[in-house]
């Protein structure tokens, strides 16, 4: 397919992955940066076997320079809101970036494990491991009952 078509097609996956990893604000910004990079470096990207994964890494490194000290989500509710019970947002923050990407992309946003593997540039069994460990961490963070008695 033409590169333009590729870029158009990869964008939603890229956005989903970067938002899943870094939240909507940063996810948006670094997606734009990655897309711009992709456009500017299209010759190079066309040579690669996994340009989508490469663009994700571009977004990833851009995100690292954007990241605020308190990370993915605001740690505190706004001053006029009461603190919430530890919910999914803060729980997701306990995951590694890769685990978070897999869990959110696959379970929250319904992308396939293959697509997650492509963005992370790993094989599918690694994705499965990230999913397993990520869900386990969430369960712990959300204090879901895992033992009987």
């Amino acid at each position: 397919m033409s590169f333009d078509k590729f870029l158009a097609e990869v964008r939603p996956r890229l956005l989903a992955g970067l938002v899943a990893s870094y939240g909507p604000e940063i996810g948006h910004e670094v997606t734009a940066e990655a897309m711009a990079y992709g456009w500017q470096n299209r010759e190079r990207l066309q040579q690669m076997s996994n340009p989508a994964g490469y663009l994700y890494r571009v977004g990833q490194s851009a995100a690292r320079s954007h990241l605020r000290p308190n990370g993915y989500l605001p740690n505190e509710a706004a001053p006029d809101m009461p603190h919430f019970e530890p919910g999914l947002g803060p729980a997701l923050e306990t995951l590694t970036e890769q685990q978070r990407l897999c869990v959110v992309l696959v379970h929250a946003l319904d992308w396939s494990q293959t697509e997650a593997a492509e963005l992370l540039d790993v094989d599918i069994s690694t994705v499965r491991t990230h999913l397993k460990r990520g869900l386990a961490k969430l369960r712990t963070a959300l204090k879901v009952e895992t033992n009987v008695g």
Binding site: V19, P24, A77, F84, A108
Partner: protein, 557 residues
């Protein structure tokens, strides 16, 4: 752990993740769920309805989490162009709420035959409307365009106030703020407010024009406007997008509290022409020491004159003359709650007990309203998804003071705007305006509260978090500075197309000298100012009987 249990737990967790995904998509403002996802249907278009808007990320996330699976998070603050009902769920076959627009009917699957079960009614977002029926968002109808998310977030000031009101009114008994927000997200309510889009727009404009971001807006500027006809709140605005200051934050009003001293005085039969010692510095005995207030020598001055110059020593004396209990009683009758500060202190007339901006606006509206006090109200009605009215505002007014008292206060406060510390608030044309500046010690808070026959507005400037000195430069940190300027610009715009109205004429009569018990009069009563600075007064024993008879000013060295 048994396999089924883990599976159940996982199902629950996955379901929560699914709804989190929807939240994430909503907050991202774009479709990021997989296009062939089983949850995507034609009717399910959260993205388009949120175009250009970005509700609070943390708020949506929290609401979604607490409400579980299959929940499509509605927009709490939809804009004018799309109906909230285009935010659908995957089982979107419920009839839309009463606020749906025609375009949402096209988008949705209609069906009244399948109604939600009693146990689990379909989550349906609520709408908050202004008085004219428009959805509460300040988007395209503003002159000064800022970015969409900024305009969106400014609506939060008013929307947040609506939530506060719903809590205060106990529309949902036992619900706190968080509960109310969740109900708004799911119960398909229609909240009709009293907000007037034209007034709102003028308030936002005046903040944007006169308190631009170049000022490094470390301090917040908050505005509340009341429609004097019925005491309803026509606008709530702030330079801070998510603020609750106008409604909830209690701050020292400074000299803007002096109007209640005036009302108490006139209600007791005193006159604006009555005179009082206006010299400073002044000291008053306390149980443990002395209370000293600064000032300069002014001899005797009328109540009207000391109001124009906001003379602190004079007002401490006036508070003593009329009695602080009467001052508190009057403020209370005008709906003001005194927070966090002793209401018996000598300093009360100087505004050391804290009040909210909405209380101040409501109180001053009683002056405009010939002495009748109406409690400020923001929510006109709440209707549930079936069309049943579950809350309706009941009009009530109480008489806080006589018509004559209100007219006298207006007469004095009018002079304040014409040539007193509130000069910058003067309105163009023949609109009569009355108001009072307020500046607290160390310039921590600055106020201008004033009214015309049509509207009463309170403007507050300060740092809501700390008690630091206002950081904008120079004269602007006085109540007579930026707050008065904003008040004037804003009220001018509001009154552009309104017929000018004057306050009632009132005959003030002659004044008499009011002496504070325990204070002596001047030895020389003809002097009303001195060419030199003074540092206070000293007692003089004119008839050498061992007792002081009068006081004279002590010049500075």
């Amino acid at each position: 752990m048994l396999d089924n249990e883990r599976r159940d737990n996982d199902d629950h967790l996955i379901a929560e993740l699914r709804s989190f995904g929807r939240t994430l998509e909503a907050a991202t403002d774009e479709a990021i769920r997989r296009p062939t996802s089983p949850e995507s249907t034609a009717a399910d278009q959260p993205v388009e309805s949120l175009q250009g808007r970005r509700p609070a990320w943390w708020l949506l996330a929290a609401a979604a989490l607490l409400l579980g699976a299959g929940f499509s998070l509605g927009v709490l603050w939809p804009d004018d162009s799309t109906s909230i009902d285009s935010v659908g769920t995957q089982e979107d076959d419920e009839t839309p709420s009463a606020t749906s627009t025609p375009e949402s009917d096209d988008d949705q699957v209609q069906g009244g035959e399948e109604s939600p079960t009693e146990l689990a009614p379909e989550p349906l977002p609520s709408s908050i409307e202004r008085a004219d029926g428009s959805a509460l968002i300040l988007a395209d109808d503003l002159e000064h365009q800022e970015s969409d998310s900024d305009a969106q977030s400014r609506a939060k000031v008013a929307a947040g106030a609506v939530v506060d009101e719903l809590v205060r009114l106990e529309v949902f008994p036992g619900s706190d703020r968080q509960d109310v927000i969740l109900r708004l997200a799911t119960d398909g309510l229609t909240i009709e407010t009293t907000l007037d889009p034209a007034v709102e727009a003028a308030a936002i404009n005046s903040i944007a024009e006169l308190y631009p971001s170049e000022f490094d807006r470390a301090d917040e500027l908050g505005i509340v406007t009341i429609d004097n006809r019925d005491g309803s709140i026509a606008a709530i605005a702030s330079s801070e997008p998510t603020s609750h200051v106008p409604l909830l934050l209690a701050r020292e009003p400074g000299s803007s509290f002096k109007s209640f001293v005036l009302a108490a005085l006139f209600e007791e039969g005193y006159s604006p022409a009555d005179t009082v010692r206006a010299d400073g510095p002044c000291s008053f005995p306390l149980d443990d020491g002395e209370y000293t207030v600064g000032g300069s020598f002014r001899g005797r001055q009328s109540i009207a004159a000391v109001t124009r110059s906001s003379n602190n020593c004079a007002f401490v004396r006036l508070g003593q003359i009329v009695g602080l209990d009467r001052v508190v009683g009057m403020a209370t009758a005008q709906g003001v709650t005194l927070h966090d500060g002793s209401d018996e202190l000598l300093s009360l007339p100087l505004g050391t007990a804290k009040v909210t901006a909405v209380d101040m606006a409501g109180a001053y509206a009683a002056f405009a309203n010939e002495g009748l006090y109406q409690q400020p109200w923001l929510v006109a009605s709440v209707t549930d998804r079936s069309g049943e009215v579950i809350y309706e505002h009941q009009r009530s007014e109480t008489r806080a003071m006589t018509e004559r008292t209100a007219a006298l206060v207006s007469d004095v406060l009018k002079g304040n705007v014409e040539r007193g510390t509130g000069r910058r608030a003067e309105l163009v044309g023949d609109h009569a305006a009355a108001g009072k500046t307020g500046t607290t010690n160390d310039f921590v808070d600055a106020w201008f509260v004033g009214y015309t026959d049509y509207y009463t507005t309170a403007v507050w400037l300060g740092d809501p978090v700390g008690n630091t000195r206002i950081r904008i430069p120079g004269w602007q940190s006085f109540g007579g500075g930026l707050p008065a300027l904003v008040w004037g610009g804003y009220m001018n715009e509001l009154h552009e197309d309104l017929a000018p109205r004057a306050f009632a004429e009132i005959d003030v009569g002659d004044g008499k000298y009011l002496q504070v018990e325990g204070e002596l009069d001047f030895c020389d009563q003809s002097v009303d100012s001195l060419p030199t600075q003074t540092v206070g007064t000293e007692l003089v024993d004119t008839d050498a009987d061992g007792e002081a008879d009068c006081v004279r000013p002590i010049p500075a060295d």
